[in-house]
Symmetry: C2
Subunit: 308 residues, 2 copies
């Protein structure tokens, strides 16, 4: 309901009377007043006058009411250990597809292969619960889907060119701006749920000495609206969910890929593999061509681009 | 320690003195006496005389002390909801590879695709925690491995020919004697743990009207020693774990397969696929040849053999 109130206030540049709001939303004027008071507590500045209410400013937070169409599906935390852990708990209890856990900051943010993901305030950190009816063999396509959606959103909202590094890093000018982690719970032949965690260096500042990481703010030279970005990103993801098993998804990934046609070195389960990245297969695995011309499929690993 | 005491008693047909036991195991005679008392409570009949202790009989239970080499890794329950649920809890808390949950009966035994698995006393029900460093795409090989190990154990201990139905049913004369369920927790490209649940109709009796199910007891015409069977099966599984990614495993499965070369109908994620089963690929997927000669790979589904 707070989302509906904010939406109504935003659609009006002038004051909106409590009476109009009450009629429009079908709740009592006392309820309206209680929600307004709660929004003020959250940091919204709302002017109240005899003419009604007027939204003066909103806090820069990813509160559920900022996403009125999704409000019911969002679990919001000012700070949390890890959105992945919270989402797993929810998914195990049956949370439906589309459930989202958002945090302003994570104290134990996780990256791929049990690594840490630094998650200070100013970034965008969320985990999305998905329940695709696919074999676990195809689950890496979910990472591809998420990385393509992030790159598309960066292009659309920031006008910046984002590239993808296999398996699922999003880069701007060769520097990582977003990490993606997908964890799944499955029978060995069919997925129960896949939780996709996306961490974006949005309005965070990256130290000058750090040459492999960037943020949207640093790349753009100004802060972005995190809620606009997250809204747009969720739309881009949803649009691609239906295409998860389509060839189009792989084509889109290939077009954005910074890995294809490069010589790469991959650490794969303790083994080092070197070759030219020539394609990805239907499961999202990378196909490498060795110096002797032999082909090899790599399912998992950390990829290093050896040269441009 | 109770396992060590039982082992020592079993190696001796005559009485074994408390003093000898105490020296052999390096614990006090009072400790020995306490363990003997505890074993008696569990149903072991142990005669105590001035000449020492003698094991008269053991209960027909899969108690951890019956597997002295594995005792530390076994979590035993006379009755449990589901060994899969207990094993998942343990694995999430970091239980090491080889942890085993055994139950004499399950009140909510689970089969593939959220089906029920009837688990009355007399069967063998356990879940094994594995942590293979493989991509989830290869996880179905764990089901193949388990089913091959079960068939080999049936052959070895019961002298019966067991066949395998894709993906992982074990059949005797066309009737199901064992079900296997593997659940995994993974990043989309690397496995964290796979829990393999095996349910065997051992000394249970199958109603006469039931034409698709059998038990070892019904097939053999006598009861088997469940602990001998489980001991042997765990050895067969362990021997094949190292071979998980080897071609030998697939060859062994193919030799035991009742599905290959048959016409089959498979319900795969809501879609029906019909064809001749001609092979399995490296991920354990079934390769079907359609009437028009086209090949198709099926990753998941329920398989029905259409004719001999």
């Amino acid at each position: 309901m707070k989302g509906q109130i904010l939406k109504a206030l935003r659609e009006r540049s002038d004051y909106l009377s409590g009476e109009t709001l009450s009629e429009q939303l079908g709740i009592s004027r006392v309820s309206i007043w209680k929600h307004i008071r709660s929004l003020k507590k959250d940091g919204y500045v709302i002017e109240a006058s005899p003419r009604g209410y007027r939204l003066v400013s909103s806090p820069d937070l990813l509160l559920p009411y900022e996403f009125p169409d999704l409000e019911q599906r969002i679990h919001y935390f000012p700070e949390i250990g890890s959105t992945m852990d919270a989402a797993r708990e929810l998914a195990k209890k049956g949370a439906e597809e589309g459930t989202i856990v958002i945090a302003e900051a994570q104290t134990h943010g996780r990256g791929r292969l049990s690594r840490e993901w630094l998650s200070p305030e100013g970034g965008i950190y969320f985990t999305l619960v998905l329940r695709p009816r696919i074999s676990p063999a195809y689950a890496p396509r979910i990472n591809l889907m998420a990385s393509v959606a992030v790159a598309a959103t960066i292009k659309k909202l920031c006008g910046l060119k984002a590239e993808l590094k296999w398996p699922n890093d999003v880069l701007i000018e060769g520097r990582k701006v977003c990490g993606i982690l997908a964890e799944m719970d499955a029978e060995t032949d069919v997925v129960n749920f896949v939780n996709v965690g996306i961490g974006i260096n949005a309005n965070t500042s990256v130290p000058q000495f750090e040459k492999t990481v960037t943020s949207l703010k640093d790349a753009l030279g100004r802060e972005i609206s995190r809620k606009e970005f997250l809204s747009a990103l969720l739309v881009e993801i949803e649009r691609r969910q239906a295409l998860l098993m389509e060839a189009d998804l792989l084509e889109e990934w290939k077009k954005l890929s910074a890995t294809l046609n490069k010589d790469v070195r991959i650490m794969s389960l303790g083994e080092e593999v070197i070759g030219q990245a020539i394609d990805i297969d239907a499961t999202g695995a990378l196909i490498l061509k060795g110096q002797d011309g032999s082909l090899r499929t790599v399912l998992v690993g950390d990829c290093i681009h050896l040269r441009e």
